[in-house]
Amino acid sequence: MSETKPSVELKKVVKRFAGVPAVRELDLVIPQGEFFSLLGPSGCGKSTTLRLIGGLERPDSGEILIDGEVVNDVPPYRRSSNIVFQNYALFPHLTIADNVAFGLRLRSRRTPAAEVEPRVEEVLELVHLEGFGKRYPDELSGGQQQRVALARALVLNPRVLLLDEPLGALDRKLRKDMQIELRRLQAELGITFLYVTHDQEEAMSMSDRVAVMRDGRFEQVAPPEEIFQKPKTRFTADFMGASNILSGKVRAADPDQSDGHSKDRLSIDLDSGITITSEKKDGVGPGDRVEFSVRPDDIYLRPPGDDLDTDNRFEGSITEKVYLGDVTEFDIDLGGGISLVCRSESREAQRLDLRKNQAVLVGWDAEDCNLLDG
């Protein structure tokens, strides 16, 4: 069995701009055919990373490999990667067809003239822009321009496609359609996609794996479900919307047998006096100070007096209620300086008639306590 080389590899890559590090000692392995996203706030280094892989920047130290070969000294026009730019970067003085054919027509590629047109047609069909060949970029809408940029890169059959926040300028509905489209394309073509975005929903809906970046480093690299449900650091938790972050001291690690099979649980005493029951985590023992996150959507709300069968159950009051359409967000005060954000489906919230300044029952399960790394 032959060993397939990883599509993209970064080994201790560092990049500085005017002395300020943008990318600090990154290590990364992306296998062939993966849809991989770089997610993070602006300035975290995700675009720089993409540009390093594409060849538009040279690393100050470390190695970048594409298909197993070190490409540090390979200029962008010799790399088998292609970029879809954020602002599309379509050549205004060329037609759509000429834009797409640009890479094909370069002498270095030695594409026979007869082959160019059919390939251009083929890729325009792929992105649903048949017949647009003779128009100019400024005659097209943002979404259409975006697809031309995609076509222009794909027609060259790159080994890796690098997408730098390509959907940023599109409206919400169009963006969602394009996300589905991109995912479908990637699955169909089997090319490795490296996708840069600051929108966590976008990253999660399309990717096989996501890397959350901050200040030039990876905070966590994992499949979307893992990042979403088990964020490892406070930053990641906060970025992914797990905005309830609490800290306390571990009391004991007793087996809990309340539902018939043993689970390992931890009791954590919050500074305010409340005790939380959480799932156990390796390496955490009695006496340790820990931080943990709870997702707003994992918290249940009931009117006082109702049944609530969760591991953690407290009384609190609703300090704020915000209707957001699908969901309604509640700010809950648990006393002792603890406040939580909770999201419920609006229909449910209406049925339970939860109102501002009301007392409420708040609860969540032990598995939904996500212990964060120190």
Binding site: G54, G55, L56, P75, P76, Y77, R78, S81, N82, I83, F85, N87, A89, L90, F91, P92, H93, F102, G103, L106, R107, S108, R109, R152, A153, L156
Partner: protein, 258 residues
């Protein structure tokens, strides 16, 4: 909100335009006047034009002016483009200083430029003539061309070049297929500025041309010193109108291309 302009302002501005253009119209008018002296209108004629165009001195002067202006445009546009690339796209030691020195000819009074260059040419024993005029004109035109082209460069999106390189074009191919086409309006603009400047330059040329050579402006000057006359009117009109027409055609062509 384009409100209507206050009447006095409009009147003033119209008067100002009349002030700026009036004399030229009068010049053109009197170039067709039969009367040789004085300003009474005595009839329409083209004789002065015929006379001046047949004048051998004038013809030679025209040749000389073109012999300087055309190479000047070509060379300064070429070098100006290179310089614009060097300055705009790179950070390097001495960049600010270079720009400072580069733009000195544009700000120096013509006179001073003429004097300094005359001293240079005579000190090294170079005989004054078409070549010295050309050298002087290029010295002024390079900064002018650079300035105009840099202005255009500022509006080219770098991402377009990055995209071209990403798609497989090396630096030279990118320059040829993407950067230069996008830079064309600036290059044309600089040619359209350098040509009339060089063709019409008087002061610098006056200092650095020798006894024998004479460009059109110099010839006009020696005719003017004698006094007002219809032949001068005719020549003056031609000097104003012809380059203007060329420049306007150039601009219209440029608008069509873009």
């Amino acid at each position: 909100m384009t409100r209507k302009s206050p009447k006095f302002l409009t009147a003033f501005c119209v008067a100002l335009f009349l002030f700026m253009y009036g004399p030229l119209f009068i010049l053109m008018l009197y170039s067709f006047n039969v009367s040789e002296y004085g300003v009474d209108w005595q009839g329409f004629t083209l004789q002065w034009y015929k006379e001046i165009l047949a004048n051998a001195n004038v013809q030679n002067a025209l040749k000389a002016s073109l012999l300087v202006a055309i190479p000047c445009v070509v060379i300064s546009t070429l070098i100006g483009t290179l310089t614009a690339f060097a300055i705009y796209r790179n950070q390097f030691l001495g960049r600010g200083l270079l720009q400072g020195i580069l733009y000195i000819p544009l700000l120096m009074p013509d006179l001073v430029m003429g004097v300094t260059l005359l001293l240079l040419f005579t000190s090294i024993g170079l005989s004054l003539g078409i070549m010295t005029i050309l050298f002087a004109h290029i010295a002024f035109s390079i900064p002018l061309a650079t300035l105009v082209i840099i202005g255009r460069m500022a509006r080219i999106d770098r991402r377009l070049e990055e995209a071209a390189m990403d798609l497989g074009a090396d630096e030279l191919t990118t320059m040829w297929k993407v950067t230069l086409p996008l830079l064309m309006p600036g290059i044309l603009a600089s040619a359209l500025l350098v040509f009339p400047w060089s063709f019409n330059d008087f002061v610098i040329t006056y200092f650095v041309s020798g006894v024998g050579s004479s460009t059109l402006p110099l010839r006009v000057y020696s005719m003017i010193r004698v006094g007002v006359s219809p032949t001068v009117n005719a020549l003056g009109t031609l000097i104003v109108i012809v380059p203007l027409v060329i420049v306007i055609i150039g601009i219209l062509l440029e608008k069509r291309r873009v």
